[in-house]
């Protein structure tokens, strides 16, 4: 297979030594079928062992290798040399502090996932331990798309609202809450409402849809957020009506 020389311009930053991030260039002889992650691995093995970045599965499911590729939040194992120009700029995901080189601090999105209460909440008892819930294919289809999130956090990186205000709970966490709200086995929607419908929640989203555009797994967080706005409004009115909670 013919090789193609790519110039990778990679952001470097070691907080112990550097006052600010800078770019370092590497010339990489790439195979045509390589992903950008393969090019980074080439740098790490053959040129500069000090470069730090996260990766593991190389098959689009572990979500480790999200980075900015030519300004676009991308999974680097799913971004191919054949689709890129000869000069490629690689930066850590935007909107999150840089930990080192291409590694970002994930504390905030991780904490927000937790706030979504992403587990089955029941008011009634579940079926006995040897018996499944019955769930139709149509009921599965309703939330399946939102289970596909690999937590690469590309959506946080693309979100203009999160860029402005880090209190915003953000696309992946909202999609995750919506996933459980839509699951026919779950009865916890009202518990998630409190967390999500407040000032850090769905109302903050300006619906430009940047999160859905960059999502490498077609999860479409923007659609989840819109649906939740509708649900949130209904729930809010329900609680205001006589006999409601508040």
């Amino acid at each position: 297979m013919s090789k193609r020389e790519l110039t990778l311009e990679v952001m470097r930053y070691d907080p112990e030594q550097d006052t600010e991030p800078y770019f370092q260039s590497y010339s990489v002889p790439c195979e045509q079928d390589w992903a950008i992650l393969d090019a980074l691995n080439y740098v790490k093995e053959e040129i500069d062992t000090t470069l730090s970045y996260r990766w593991s599965c190389h098959m689009m499911v572990c979500g480790s290798c999200g980075m900015m590729v030519n300004g676009e939040p991308s999974l680097t194992c799913k971004t191919f040399v054949r689709d890129l120009p000869d000069h490629v700029r690689i930066e850590p995901l935007a909107n999150m502090p840089i930990e080192r080189d291409l590694v970002v601090v994930l504390d905030d999105p991780m904490e927000k996932m937790h706030r979504a209460r992403p587990w089955i909440i029941r008011q009634d008892d579940p079926p006995p331990p040897d018996q499944e819930y019955v769930q139709s294919r149509a009921a599965l289809f309703k939330f399946k798309q939102y289970t596909m999130c690999v937590n690469c956090m590309c959506c946080y990186s693309a979100c203009p609202q999160y860029a402005l205000d880090q209190n915003f709970i953000g696309p992946a966490a909202l999609a995750l809450a919506h996933r459980y709200n839509l699951d026919s086995r779950d009865q916890g929607k009202s518990q998630r409402l409190d967390i999500l419908a407040d000032y850090d929640g769905v109302w903050e989203c300006s619906f430009v849809g940047a999160c859905s555009e960059v999502c490498p797994k077609s999860v479409d967080p923007a659609a989840a957020i819109q649906q939740m706005k509708v649900d949130g409004a209904i729930e809010w009115w329900k609680q205001k009506l006589p006999g409601g909670k508040s």
Partner: protein, 586 residues
């Protein structure tokens, strides 16, 4: 060095570690669980499993049939008491996962769907399209978040075990973001760190699978069992080694050679079955060891297809149609299209065998107990005797659940009985030694390259411990690994930073890989028979007289590992013939 105390330490937060953590949090909410993982839990390689998890479901199936398939699939090297326990617990664990929200695929009536899988006599593989491991992992991780007694230590890289007087006391780990060292202490430690496919050059395994738990146990004097049994999955994408699930064949995909011929019929898995009507335990639904061995013979005979990435056979799924492929195998379609440019809807996809799973691991029993009191191990990092000489596809995801729960219960019980043990100067000294070793590695000068040594190790194992082995090649692999361990003393870590130093991490991972590699090579050399995934060109038959035994590899600081042999537990199935000819021959 900061000290952290817990009741139970779990190292590894993939499917097994998370299942164990949840089990303890539910049954003993007062026990403090420290869950240490070198990556965020959802990055663990459980996410790479595609096809599904086995557990008896249909009215036409039985525990006995699942037992029989597993034991014959393992070429009778399975410990049958473990298999009996496993098949009995499997269905309930899979339902439990359903209750926790796992998005299993469904039948028309809304019950969980099952699909056929290799070596299984009945349809019993529960699946979530072709991302079963991914969904199991995320379901467990998300479920675990509700328990306050589980304290996570994400991106903490475990270095070595703390032990005193032969009893496990904890583990030392390095926090990646700061480079600081932490001394974790607890009466019970569970290792759930996964396998070590990264000892081979071509593997489905993610970069994280470097045998860390196996190596830590081994260095602490705990033996590794049956390490010579390495599973090659028959259908990996060439070039990258990306897995294409056995579900491709379960749904009806066929394997053909360059002549368009379904060659498996020539290797004891015929007669040929009609295209699109897969017959259980026959042809493409034979076990993985047999299919990978058949490829080897086809390659020798010149029947494979030359591709830019080397010799392949073709996996043809076109007859399944776009609708079924999109519904059941969407990830496979995406992976094949992106990485080799073949859309399975319109083209056969080139595939070849690829290292996928270690049947061997830390010597453990049905309770996850290892020979070292206080140390437990489960999942791929352990060898409980469940899989024998060849694991059946979809038994390992279920194993994470069954063994995760069982080991956790036992570890919790043990922790309560044993108590904390208090502070110990001997343990502190050991912790200091471990840290000193890492600091020295960081400062040492030398002219060996880390990636160079790693490449040599991988090639040596592929040569000497691949699909087929012989005395000369395995012997050479043993020598090479021993030599590489010497040369490791001259590697240099160029990155001197404390912050997220992956150069240092990879150097420490290579040390783990080399420890694992020597046990794989030694076992391959000393097992002079052919059984399951271990095939010797110079000892072509199974030899129950001599070798119906597990190997136990003990670390020998003076040189190559010392091997002992351990009897296999047989309860009701005497060693017999593995038959994959459907019902036609029997």
């Amino acid at each position: 060095m900061e000290s952290i105390h817990a009741d139970v330490i779990i190292v590894g937060a993939g499917g097994g570690g998370l299942r164990a953590a949840i089990a303890i949090a539910q049954s003993n909410p007062d026990l403090k669980v420290a869950l240490i993982s070198k990556v965020y839990p959802m990055r663990s390689h459980t996410c790479g499993a595609e096809g599904g998890a086995a557990g008896v479901k249909g009215a036409d199936d039985s525990l006995e049939l699942h037992f029989n398939d597993t034991v014959s699939g393992g070429d009778w090297l399975c410990d049958q008491d473990v298999v009996e326990y496993f098949v009995r617990q499997a269905p309930r664990e899979l339902v439990q996962l359903e209750h926790w929200g796992c998005p299993w695929s469904r039948e028309d009536d809304g019950s969980v769907a099952v699909r056929p899988f290799g070596g299984m006599k009945k349809k019993r593989t529960w699946y979530a399209a072709d991302k079963s491991g991914f969904h199991i992992l995320h379901t467990l991780f998300q479920t675990s978040m509700q328990f306050e007694s589980i304290k996570r230590f994400d991106e903490f890289f475990a270095l070595d075990l703390l032990h005193r007087d032969g009893t496990c006391r904890g583990v030392v780990a390095m926090e990646m973001r700061s480079g600081l060292f932490f001394k974790f202490q607890a009466p019970a430690v569970i290792l759930a760190t996964g396998g070590s496919g990264q000892v081979f050059p071509f593997t489905t395994n993610g970069a994280v699978k470097t045998g860390d738990g196996m190596a830590m146990a081994y260095r602490a004097g705990v033996p590794l069992k049956d390490m010579e049994f390495v599973q090659y999955h028959p259908t990996g994408l060439p070039g990258t080694g990306i897995l294409l699930t056995e579900g491709c064949r379960g749904e009806g995909g066929i394997l053909v050679n360059r002549h368009g011929y379904r060659y498996l019929q020539d290797y004891g898995m015929g007669p040929e079955t009609p295209i699109g009507e897969p017959v259980l335990k026959t042809m493409e639904l034979g076990p993985r060891d047999r299919l990978s061995q058949a490829f080897w013979h086809e390659q020798k005979a010149g029947n494979t297809v030359e591709t830019p990435w080397g010799d392949c056979v073709m996996l043809d799924m076109r007859h399944l149609g776009e609708k079924k492929i999109n519904e059941r195998l969407p990830l496979v379609r995406e992976l094949a299209t992106y990485y080799v440019g073949h859309d399975p809807v319109s083209d056969p996809v080139p595939v070849r065998p690829v290292v996928h799973y270690m049947m061997g691991g830390i010597d453990a029993n049905i309770n996850g107990e290892t020979p070292m009191p206080g140390l437990f191990a489960l999942g791929e990092t352990a060898c409980s005797g469940l899989h024998g000489a060849n694991r059946l596809g979809s038994n390992s995801l279920t194993e994470l659940l069954v063994a995760g729960k069982r080991s956790a219960e036992r570890a919790a019980e043990y922790a309560q009985q044993a108590g904390s043990g208090g502070e110990s100067p001997a343990v502190d000294a050991l912790a200091e030694d471990i840290v000193k070793g890492v600091r020295e590695l960081l400062l040492q000068k030398g002219d060996e390259s880390l990636s160079g040594l790693r490449r040599e190790m991988r090639n040596a194992l592929e040569e000497g411990a691949g699909i087929y082995r012989d005395e000369a090649s395995t012997s050479a692999a043993c020598d090479t690994v021993a030599e590489l361990k010497q040369r490791y003393a001259a590697i240099e870590v160029h990155d001197k930073s404390n912050i997220f130093n992956t150069d240092l991490q990879q150097a420490l991972e290579l040390r783990n890989l080399l420890d694992v590699a020597e046990t794989v090579a030694e076992g391959s050399l000393q097992r002079r028979e052919s059984r399951g995934a271990h095939q010797r060109l110079d000892y072509t038959e199974r030899d129950d007289e001599e070798f119906l035994k597990h190997t136990l590899a003990f670390r020998n600081p003076e040189g190559r590992p010392r091997l002992e042999w351990l009897d296999v537990t047989i309860t009701r199935s005497k060693p017999g013939v593995r038959d994959y000819s459907g019902d036609k021959k029997s």
